[in-house]
């Protein structure tokens, strides 16, 4: 099994990580970098609990190899908050009770952040479409959509 030394910028920090070929991005984040906010739900690219941004775009980190982010930028849920406060999206989620058990939430936040980057004023349908790949068993999605729209109205996810 080959080992690879990769350079990757994670949440703004330059990291040098040695990873085996078969380590997923998800495993690298959780096990090598102790960024356990990103979750494993299905290991099949269906539930979105593992969603992170790679070069600004949401991907299922369980379906990507760690070695494939060499030279790239990764953002996890830990990278969304500011030094002294949550992001506007995170605050909206709290305000609108858009989470219950919270397991899907890191992935949802990442997808929602990316949505408002590319579409600052989505319709409710567009919000739901963007979240097709983030399954939530608790909330029924209604308050999630409300929270995303609240953040959009306030001027964005950040």
């Amino acid at each position: 099994m080959t080992m690879h030394t990769i350079t990757v910028r994670v949440n703004g920090d330059q990291e040098y990580v040695v990873v085996p070929s078969n380590m997923t991005l998800l495993q690298m984040l959780r096990e090598k970098l102790a960024l356990t906010g990103t979750k494993n739900g299905c290991s099949a690219g269906e539930c979105g609990a593992c969603t992170v941004l790679v070069d600004g775009e949401p991907v299922n980190s369980c379906m990507m190899l760690a070695v494939e982010v060499d030279g790239r930028e990764v953002t996890t849920v830990e990278g969304l908050a500011h030094e002294d406060r949550l992001s506007a999206m995170q605050e909206a989620f709290v305000e609108h009770s858009a989470l219950q058990c919270g397991f899907c939430t890191p992935g949802v936040l990442i997808s929602a952040h990316a949505l408002l980057e590319r579409n600052p004023h989505p319709t409710d349908d567009e919000v739901r479409e963007a979240l097709v790949g983030n399954l939530c068993r608790c909330t029924g999605y209604l308050r999630i959509v409300q929270a995303v729209q609240a953040a959009a109205e306030k001027g964005g996810a950040s």
Partner: protein
Amino acid sequence: MQSRPGLSDFDYVRASALDEAVRLLKERGDMARPLMGGTDLFVRMRDGVIQPQILLDVKHLPGMRDIVCDEQAGLTVGAAVTMNEVGCHPDVLAHYPLLAEAANSVASYQLRNRATLGGNLCNGSPAADTAPAALLLEGRLAIYGPDPSASSGQCGEREVPATEFFLGPGQTAMQAGELLTAVRFPRLPDGAVAKYLKLGRSKAGDLSIVGVAVLGFPDDTAPSGYRFRIGLASVAPVPLRAVEAEALLVQKPPGEDAFCQAAEKAMEAASPIGDVRASAQYRQAMVRNLTLRGLRDVWARLQSA
């Protein structure tokens, strides 16, 4: 051996050239697999269906990520172009919107950032969302590999029309050591209009229960004045064209009568199985319904053009 959430042991190799890649794939046979988006590959590896020892990353090779559109020559889409890239590209949206519609129907936004056109086609699932579009748009698959006629081990390209590419569930015309590099779509007939209808257990995000693509265009050489192409996914061992339905519509003038008859013919062209997503009978019936809806939609837009 099943591995979750990790993956079984393998070596990741980044190919440096096309020739080197096909040589390695030919040498190692089943022990090596090309790595595109990995969205089908990793699922099968975790299920224990396949256990490659080498994953050969080829996405970065020249042309693999390119989309080139020429008014006369047509559209060339590199094999490693992602579904989101296909679905958002201005040239694809402008000139081949059926392909964009199909690509945008795949799974979720996250998966569409990784899943590739080439991977979708080469995986050879009868349910592949881009397959009916590839069939209707008369795509030709550019396959690079060892040239069997050359004794020196030289490599070359051959083109396979989409209509000859799918051979069975999970089986395609790809040979050992070959790599899909691009799909080429010719210029479409003037005034062509198309629609992809995907029926799933949910409105979005699912594999298709039935997928139907319909394309229509005015054609003086057809007695009915129009030609239609109808593609079916998930209802047979391979994605296929409903040729008898198409032939009927060459003769019979467009309208509810003709469309109903064509939809029946399309239904007869299907030989679906029952599985966790739907029964065979339901699939069969839905072929008719979706074909009818597709024909009506395309016809309405042809008339308003």
